[in-house]
Each structure stands twice: as C-alpha cells, then as structure tokens.
Amino acid sequence: MTRPAVSVDVERLGRRFGDRHALRDVSFAVVPGEMTALLGPNGGGKTTLFRILATLLRPTSGDARVFGHSVVTSAGPARRRMGVVFQRPSLDLKLTVAENLAHHGRLYGLSGRCLRERAAASLDKLGLAGRAGDRAERLSGGLQRRAELAKALMHEPDLLLLDEPSTGLDPNVRREVLDHLEGIARAGGTVLMTTHFMDEAERCGKVGILHEGMLAAFDTPDRLKGRIHGDVVRVHGRDPAALGARIRERFRLTPSLVDGWLRLETQSGHLLAAQVVEAFPEEISSVTWGRPTLDDVFVGLTGRRLGEAAA
C-alpha cells in the first residue's frame, strides 16, 4: 500500500465560544511516520483543536481532514481511522481491563475471535496481559494510561490522537509511553499529541506552538531553535528592571524580562555571561547561559515561559 502524503490536513480552522476565539485560523499538515506535538499553555487552544480533530466539537470556520475525510462532513470514516487517547481516562473503572477493550472493539465493528485476538495482542504489546482480569479502578495511574493506549490501538488506527498523554504520570512511565509512541511512528503510523512538556516536544518530528488560539509556529524542533541566533543568557538580580537598563546601556543589547529573569539572545553567550558578571558584580545573584531550547522559542514567540503560562 502506498502511504498517503498527508495524514491530517488542517485548514484555516477556527472555533469561537461566544465572543472568545478559542482557535483562530489554524493551518498545518501532519505526515505519517513521525510524531507531531502541539505545544502550548492551558487555554492556548490545544484541547479545542484536539476535540475538533477527534470529531467531538465542530469548528466555527475552516475544516480538518483525516486521511482526506472531513471531520465536519464525514466524521464516520474519519473516526474509523483514528485512535483517540483522552486526558481524563475513558476507561470504565467498574469494568475489567479486558471488558473495557471488548466494549471498545465492538464499537469499532470487531467481534468474535478477531476481537479477542486483537485485544490480547494489544494488551500484550503494552505489558498488560497479566492485568486483563483486573478492574480498571485497581490499576495505578500509569497502568490506566497504558490500558487507555491499548484500547486506542486495538482497532489498529492509522492516526493516534492523544491529549496530554503524559500528564500526571511519573517520569519513568512518561518515558515508557513516549518510547511506545515513537515505535508506532517509526512503524509508519501517525502520532499527533498535545503537550505542555518541552522534553516531550523535543522528541517529536514536528512541533506546533499554539498561543492564544493561534498557531505561532510549526516546524521541526531544530529549525524552531534555529530561529534564535546564538545562545541564551539569563541574568537574575535584586532589581531586574534597573539592571536591565544598565545592561542595555553598557552592552547595547535589549534584554527581555521573563519570569523575574533578564533574558538576552547573543552569539558567544559564555563571553557575555562573564562580561555581565564582571560589570555588575554587586547587582547580580545568578547567571546562566545555554543553547536555545524550545522553551526559549516559546518565550521568543509569546513573551512567556511555558511552565509559567501552564501553571
């Protein structure tokens, strides 16, 4: 089978709730074989976009196509190709893991032996075979998330759509889940997820940054970081505003004040860091320098740090 060039095609998508624009004129395309992350703070429009793509919410303008099927006018075929993982678990806690999968399979038209085999294979793949008979409520958060994933994968979807898949998981489980998603993408699947974790976004082939309902950027992590020229130096002091003014005067650079820290973009950041400390030893309590991260890209685009914005 030839692979389609585009799995998800989002075109000028918009959603209004009353006067509030939750999503404005968002366009991007997701291709098979890689993970794509939609990064942004809560309230940035991620979940609205997720719900529209999952066919649970209608857009007020624009359209999105999943393997060519519009999520507005042809939701049925679009749903068939998708596996959806929700942020709040969609497991029935009173049912066993196996029962949850059985119900899910039947909703996707599976039955009989095929249903049993797919469920068993899916549980096996996620290391849950031994817990099939346990009620979902007895599973830890991490195991529940894995069961959720097993459920979403059992009908062998071409697109896996996930809303904050690692929120509330401890770091080990997070890594495990991500490894798994990476494996799916490597096998030719399409993985599209929302997240507010930078490290998660770093592992994706493409990253879209959603801010105030708009797509501020959409590119590979490397190219996004390449938008920042050189290094990033952060300076902390007792009076950041006064310190900023003095740095501007002395070094002819314009620092931005983010989260109580002065932030400077420059070539050879290590030199600047040393010079700043030498110039104002009394005023400065701490200096860091580093290569740009997605966090810096996010700050550059939105004027806020993601962690701060998400809190």
């Binding site: 719900r51 999952a54 649970l56 929700f86 709040r88 969609s90 029962e99 909703l107």
Partner: protein, 262 residues
C-alpha cells in the same frame, strides 16, 4: 448492523456496571420499598381512593403498589442516565463518542440497558403483589411486564434528554425534582384523579404518565375482576398514548445527543 452491535455492547455495560455497585442495587430496591411501607402504611388508615384500586375494597397499600412499581422504574431510569452527564466529559462515554457509531445507537444502548435494569427491579416488586392481596394472573403479570418495559423506556428516554442537554449533575437533580418526580406524583400513582380538585385532575389528564399508570393498572387486572378499575382510562388508548410518549422521548434523546458536543 454495527450500530446495533454498539447498542448491545453499551446496554450490556450498563447491566454489568449496575451489578457491580452493590449500593446502587440496594438503593434502587430499598427506596421504593421503604416508600411503599412508610407512605402506604401511614396513609392506609386515612386514605380511601375514590376509584381505580385493584381489588374490591380499595386498600391503600394495594392502590399504591403499581405506583411504587412506577417509582422504581423512574428511579432506576434516573440513576442509569445521570452518569451520562459526567461520563461524556471525563469518562467512558468520551471514547464512545469518538467511535464510528451513530449517536442514536448510543442512546438506544443506554435506554435499553437502563430499562432492562428498571424492569428487573420492577418485576421484583410485582412479585410482591400477592403479599398485599392483589390477585395477579399469569396473563396479568406478563402484560404488566410489557407495560413496565415501555414505561421504563419512556422514563429513560426523558432522563437521557436531560442528561445529554445538561452539563452538571446538580442541574440534572434540579430538573428531575421539578419535572420527572411531579410527573410520577400526578400520574395516578399516588392518588387517583377521581378525588382530586379539578385543576389537578386537569393536569393529570394531560400528563402522559397518567396513561402509562392506567395501562399498568389495567394490565395487572387482566384475567381478574372485570369491575375493578372502572374509573381508569381504557387500556387501548392508554397504551397508545404511552407508546407515543415513549417514541417521542427516545427520538428527542437521539436528537439532543446528536447535537450535543462531548
């Protein structure tokens, strides 16, 4: 076909869930039983229904018995639909809504599951009929079960209409107390229209559940004393109105479910 398979699997889930929540089983059976004993017992001495009592002597416990069956159907229907409100925002239903099945099949599954539970519990109360001296023939019991199924589907359909429309369980409780409970109270379940003031009798005449109640009473009388229950609306029209209400409630729930966002 796959839509029906979806309905069946969702109905099955309702039943399994119910059986695993012991407090729900106890509450759903215990509450109507308690109401029956306390209200029926308390009112027995001072209340003589003006008509419609199964049995010749108009004993209130007997009069109230089909009413309590209807209350059980109502409570069970409500309990099984209330989860829809929470379930679709952050639970099992999210996944169902994202699945390639039409919304009407989801509603059908929920209604079938909820109604099945309601009828099973109603049947338990129906079996107590001989204990209060209600003569119940086999034909009467079978007919009563059939009518109970339609009443249960109607209540579940109404519950689902609310549940798909509302965002909070608090809102659900408020509307339930304001609409569904009075519907039961003014259906002839608790007191007959014959003795009520005319404005109340008028409300009761336009309440579709009055006809469900009448159909249930008449069904229970089948094969028994033909003179009993004369004051009730006739069986045919009652069944007709009940069936129409049921269809309207289920269609309404399907329509609202289709419009509702998750």
């Amino acid at each position: 076909m796959s839509a029906l398979a979806a309905s069946a699997t969702l109905a099955r889930r309702e039943v399994v869930r119910f059986a695993r929540q012991r407090s729900r089983v106890v509450g759903a059976l215990g509450q109507p039983l308690l109401f029956w004993l306390l209200l029926g017992g308390g009112l027995k001495a001072s209340f003589r229904p003006a008509g419609g009592a199964p049995g010749p002597d108009g004993d209130y416990m007997r009069y109230f018995h089909p009413g309590i069956i209807a209350l059980t159907l109502l409570f069970t229907a409500i309990f099984s639909t209330i989860s829809v409100v929470e379930d679709r925002k952050g639970g099992f239903l999210q996944g169902v809504l994202a699945a390639p099945v039409p919304r009407w099949s989801i509603v059908a599954g929920q209604a079938a599951g909820g109604s099945l539970l309601a009828v099973l519990q109603g049947a338990f109360l129906l079996m107590l009929a001989p204990a209060v001296g209600v003569p119940l023939t086999a034909a009467g019991a079978a007919a009563a079960l059939g009518v109970m199924a339609v009443i249960a589907l109607t209540f579940t359909g109404m519950g689902l209409m609310l549940a798909w429309r509302l965002d909070s369980t608090q809102g659900f409780h408020a509307i339930m107390n304001l609409a569904l409970l009075p519907m039961w109270l003014l259906s002839g379940a608790f007191f007959p229209a014959a003795g009520a003031p005319s404005w109340l009798a008028w409300i009761m005449a336009v309440n579709p559940m009055t006809y469900g109640m009448a159909a249930l009473r008449r069904a229970m009388l089948l094969g028994g004393d033909p003179s009993a229950g004369e004051a009730l609306p006739a069986l045919g029209p009652s069944l007709g109105i009940l069936a129409l209400s049921c269809a309207a409630a289920l269609a309404g729930a399907s329509l609202l479910a289709r419009r509702a966002s998750a």
